[in-house]
Amino acid sequence: MWSYTFRRVLMTIPTLLLVITVCYLMLHATPGGPFDGERKLSAAVLANLQAKYHLDLPLWQQYLYYLKSLLSGDLGASFRYADWSVNDLVIKALPVSLSIGGGSLLISIVLGVGLGIIAALRQNSLVDYLVMLIGNIGSAFPSFVIGPVLIMVFAIWLKWLPAGGWDDFQLGYMILPMTLLTFINISTIGRVMRGSLIEVLSSNFIRTARAKGLGLSTIVFRHALKPALMPVVSVIGPLAISSITAAVVTESVFSLPGIGKLIVNGAANRDYTLVLGLVVLVTVVAVLLNLLVDLAYALLDPKIRY
């Protein structure tokens, strides 16, 4: 286990380096420098500025400086919002994204596993059809279609909830975005949980447990649940990545001031450094999440020994 953990942790480094390097080089390949404003700067000022940001050095030295500042947790300065560093913007936006994205991921794991279990135990019941329906809708309809439909129904016709926006973590503004993300996640988790539990329940050791005369709840919770959860754990990694995508769209649909909105706005304003900083940050988070899921998988499944 320890040597696997060590190797798995080591493997994240090339991934991170690849993404950072490619993004950095792309940034450098684009024409135009940060100080090509409408007002021409005098040569002396320009030279000073370039020296301050190490722009007068050869590319590989600039790159090393960039890596060094990344290691110390500094994502750089924003092109457009003068006076703001990327870190300042992130600190304001991250709690919004984390509470919406992380919160709905937790809720959907609990709800999805629960619904999946009920659907597997009572096939062709109402819950079963519900899980299948959510799975079908979630896999075919894009989030930016489901989101507006939610707004139309609950904000415009029923007038129960605000159509979008954000007011300091007030619950009313969080319900619709979290509903959307939870719905999308449940569509995967519920389906996978249902399928894997049905498969496990038809295996030999469950038949033995039944033959011993164990009750249904003991069979499900003590014997069947753990092996049935393995496929669910393995989809949580990809799901976390696609949650990031869905969160970008969700924040755009409901105009939430989170990381996703920041990235989209940065892209629209061509705020290169902001987008680069945010991409690096989110990539680190995504790679770490994947690492955690893989390690959890190795810990849970005794069959896997690398």
């Binding site: 940034l27 684009t30 990809p238 769209v249």
Partner: protein, 304 residues
């Protein structure tokens, strides 16, 4: 007596065999029959073909163009008058034509990006599978790395830096859509390489080229076709997400994602501007998904 009867039966049988050689059933014909039996997949295919035809040829038969503004008919509800069947948007542009033109872009990006990513995936996967060893594990490690990357964000960065050209959108989508195909093709290549029928063909002296073309390629083709149809909806979806976020094609040119974004802004007063493109995109994705499922069932009967 009995003996004679038997031999005459054998004669008749052999005569019969000589007269009508047994019709072989190609696996492709089997697959086609299985696909045609799948009602949902056939209906989806017909719908998708109709939508594609409407997008390609429809705009020629309509009296409006996608960028003309009708100053007397802004934000018009769907009506028969003046052929505004889907109504008009807040600038007085005919929504039906815009939906069809947008569909052209969405489907064209979907088609092109699927083609490029499928080709890239096949070449990558087949190379890794054939070469094996260190090269294989290195190439597949790279695929693993690509999976761990939050692709939409890198796509946003690419579009921000490189511009919002049509072909750049195709390129951006390609970069993040080829990995599934590469994995599948590599796995299939590896398993075909060690199959008994390949060994048998070698043993009876079939040449390598003929082994590749009559045994390896046909067995690879089924899975390639399956994963191509599975790639299509994902690619169309990615294009729509990009253009929904304002990073795809630029006004006045449009695509379904752009139209949905436009519709979101005005859904309180004129909901049809949102509903029509959203419905078109959803139907297309739904059909593409069903066709993919039908293909999988038809071409891979073992895998149910």
């Amino acid at each position: 007596m009995f003996k004679m009867k038997q031999s005459s039966l054998a004669d008749a049988l052999s005569a019969n065999l000589a007269a009508a050689p047994v019709q072989g059933r190609s696996p492709w014909r089997d697959a086609r029959e299985r696909f045609l039996r799948n009602k949902a997949a056939v209906i989806s295919l017909i719908l998708l073909v109709l939508i594609t035809l409407a997008c390609v040829f429809g705009p020629f038969f309509l009296p409006h163009t996608y960028e003309d503004t009708d100053w007397d008919a802004m934000s018009l509800a769907p009506t028969l008058q003046n052929w505004h069947l889907f109504g008009t948007d807040e600038l007085g542009r005919d929504l039906l034509v815009r939906c069809l033109i947008g569909g052209r872009i969405s489907l064209m990006v979907g088609f092109l990006a699927t083609l490029t990513s499928v080709l890239l995936g096949i070449v990558w996967g087949a190379t890794a599978g054939f070469l094996g060893g260190k090269v294989d594990s290195l190439m597949m490690r790279f695929v693993d790395m690509m999976y761990a990357v939050p692709y939409l964000l890198i796509a946003i960065l690419m579009v921000t830096l490189l511009g919002r050209d049509f072909y750049l959108v195709v390129l951006t989508i390609t970069v993040f859509s080829w990995m599934d195909m590469a994995r599948v093709v590599r796995g299939q290549t590896l398993s075909i390489k060690s199959k008994e029928y390949i060994e048998a063909a070698r043993a009876i002296g079939v040449s390598t080229t003929s082994i590749i073309f009559s045994h390896v390629v046909p067995n690879l083709l089924g899975i390639v076709v399956i994963y191509t149809t599975v790639t299509v909806p994902g690619v169309i979806l990615t294009e729509s997400v990009l253009s929904f976020l304002g990073l795809g094609v630029q006004e006045p040119m449009t695509s379904w994602g752009v139209l949905i974004q436009d519709g979101c802004g005005v859904m309180e007063s004129t909901p049809w501007i949102l509903l029509f493109p959203a419905a078109l995109l959803s139907i297309t994705l739904y059909c593409a998904n069903y066709i993919g499922d039908g293909m999988r069932d038809a071409l891979d009967p073992k895998d149910r």
